[in-house]
Amino acid sequence: MVAPSLKLQDLIEEIRGAKTQAQEREVIQKECAHIRASFRDGDPVHRHRQLAKLLYVHMLGYPAHFGQMECLKLIASSRFTDKRVGYLGAMLLLDERHDAHLLITNSIKNDLSQGIQPVQGLALCTLSTMGSAEMCRDLAPEVEKLLLQPSPYVRKKAILTAVHMIRKVPELSSVFLPPCVHLLHERHHGILLGTITLITELCERSPAALRHFRKVVPQLVQILRTLVTTGYSTEHSISGVSDPFLQVGGHSSKTMTNTSPLSSTQVATNTDTSRNAGNAVLFETVLTIMDIRSAAGLRVLAVNILGRFLLNSDRNIRYVALTSLLRLVQSDHSAVQRHRPTVVDCLQETDASLSRRALELSLALVNSSNVRAMMQELQAFLESCPPDLRADCASGILLAAERFAPTKRWHIDTILHVLTTAGTHVRDDAVANLTQLIGGAQELHAYSVRRLYNALAEDISQQPLVQVAAWCIGEYGDLLLEGNCEEIEPLQVDEEEVLALLEKVLQSHMSLPATRGYALTALMKLSTRLQGDNNRIRQVVSIYRSCLDVELQQRAVEYDTLFRKYDHMRAAILEKMPLVERDGPQADEEAKESKAAAQLLEAAPAPTEPQASQLLDLLDLLDGASGDAQHPPPLDPSPGGALVYLLDLPCAPPPPAPIPDLKVFEREGVQLNLSFIRPPENPALLLITATATNSSEGDVTDFICQAAVPKSLQLQLQAPSGNTVPARGGLPITQLFRILNPNKAPVRLKLRLTYNHFHQSVQEIFEVNNLPVESWQ
């Protein structure tokens, strides 16, 4: 006789009694062996108990696949107990990938049509959790029948199952569309909740459904009104009220704009915010107001509600408020600005989620008028923030500084501060940006080099800082030694000190190879800038001739040769660098990459090292001066003849072929053009600059451009340069879109423009399908 099997509770007791992981595993394996034997023997009485035990073991992480067929048998049994466990097992163990799942289709069909209500409920639940496309197609008629059953319990489950089916098999939308209107007349909240989800799903899938449901919008508003005015209990307030909002907000019609402001304000003023449910409702109201095109007054009300929430003591409310404001900041920038002080206070939160949201929002709120104050706050935050936020904060500050810097000196100061505080977390191109910036600000050379020297003297561990400092000292060493910069206290710096510092950088184990390269080149440049003799420098250089790092070795050998054989050329070669040309502040990546070729020629040190050495090899061939194995003079070609020569070479990566611009919109003199850039270093990224120009006689004001892309792409919109285009060819508005397209799917854009022109408000929505092939292939 078979030993009586353990009840579920007893098994759990045993597992809990196990003192170690190994013991637990033993107990479970023994029990699984029993279960397997029992399944083999086909014992119908205790099958449900065995499966329940198996499901428990599955939750703990042990394999349970041998129970799949047993689920089928249990579902087919006539007892409710068996069916319950069987369906649960099906939901937890079976899925589309196993062929066995189709076998339960028949059982489900029988249960749906003939079972008692709990059984129907179970079947629907299972279908909505793991129903595959084939199953959904087969069982759609049964579910449709159940939608019209009198019992609310089964109907609400049937409705949600219908939602799942539509998700799996969109063609079924036509089947489930007709009953929806009828279902809206129900009073039962569970049914209403489900119906609204179903309608939302239908509307999202097809515009035809959307048109169909526009007619029922008044009814929805009616439901909303009754819920609001009769006063609702907490049980229903989430389901009843929030969901009409969600639905309404997403798919508004023209009729809504008349009726909804009334209901929205009603809800906004009547909702009891002392309970969490009330707050949830208010949030949804706010989001609805923002989604549909409400009057300006209503939008301000919405933003003010959010502002009030920001002051709430409950952290959850503040978090949701920050999230919502972030969504609104693009469209209602000025309204959100009013709450800037509160947002900045939220930066001080100890809560990581909150401070991250506050950081994102603060960065979005920076504009040219508040940039100094905001930067101060953000820099203070940078010093104290948790490490995972540092990178975002640093890059955010740098970006904002670039766009809104009032003066160059301020800009340099800011970047310097960021480098000293969070140097290890900045992006790679920060170094290039800073060197270019300093190079361009002639009047600030002395100031910059002093500050960098001081910073370097204190701390040589932050690599970006060290790199920039080394470069500066190399370039402007003479200014450093003059010692009479009026903006900082005069400090007498000795030549020997400078050289010692650079040597320290060279020898430090914290320095990256790139940093060492910077330092070595800087030393070399100093050989022409300093008055003293160059013995020390020559010594250092000759030491590195036998360095293990190939890059450094090559440089050292070249520099050494420069001292020995080509000393007459040394001064000319090591002159001050000409300014590196650069595009505007927008797309840093595109500037960096398209200038990689240009940078070669102008010999900025670092990021282009490998290309530089390729270039030298080419020069070697062409000069024909390869008699001796010496490398020709390196990186700092004097401007002039050599430059022109180099331009003829098909040297390292050629800049990518420019993609033609595309004009996408024109109306009464207002035009929108798209220009495309694809940085070669990141083929999945597409940068689109949308430029709005105005050749008409009237100004364009309140210009807002919004974009949407298909789901396989990711879109990021940056804030536009402004929202007014003056008439007659005034300064255009530019806005940058970043699109990530890892699957190389064809890019389609849907654009929505709203603006005021000739005292009329214009809204245009159109799709752009004819983007050039090079933008996404």
Binding site: Q9, M59, R79, F80, R84, H189, I238, L246
Partner: protein, 207 residues
Amino acid sequence: MIQAILVFNNHGKPRLVRFYQRFPEEIQQQIVRETFHLVLKRDDNICNFLEGGSLIGGSDYKLIYRHYATLYFVFCVDSSESELGILDLIQVFVETLDKCFENVCELDLIFHMDKVHYILQEVVMGGMVLETNMNEIVAQIEAQNRLEKSEVSKQLCSSPGWVEKTWAEAGVCTCVGLCCCETSGNDTHLLSSLSPLKLMDLKVNQP
């Protein structure tokens, strides 16, 4: 849409694991562990929202959690759900558990894992919120439990030689079962009746 519902204790042992999107088993366990580590780091007085881990779907998903005594209830949702609404939903779920189990504690969840699943099925179905009214949920569960008990006793008393044992073990259940045998054909009776049958009625129906 709700992607997953996880309940684990302060040491990370899973007490309820329900995924509404398909993941292979190892990934499921990994998600539970990762979520536990994320949630454990949080203090008690900071907000209940976490940006999700990398495994569960990425940037669109949030973890909304609540800490009750020794258990963490974690709902992983996407951006279409209202965050505050989900917080309330967790509260409703726990209160329902409380009603069904009488002062529910972790042990109840441990030993009655299947029942907790059944209760959850009445609240969330297929990743969508089904019902938030506690009374309705509890009524449903009680009706289903009664159905199950009646079947157990039906089975017990239908096999001969078990009758004496039946009376000793099952007690009132048997009586209820016998009554229901008479009325089992009528579905609505079982579901709509909320009060258990009184003992007086039972005497009348015994054979």
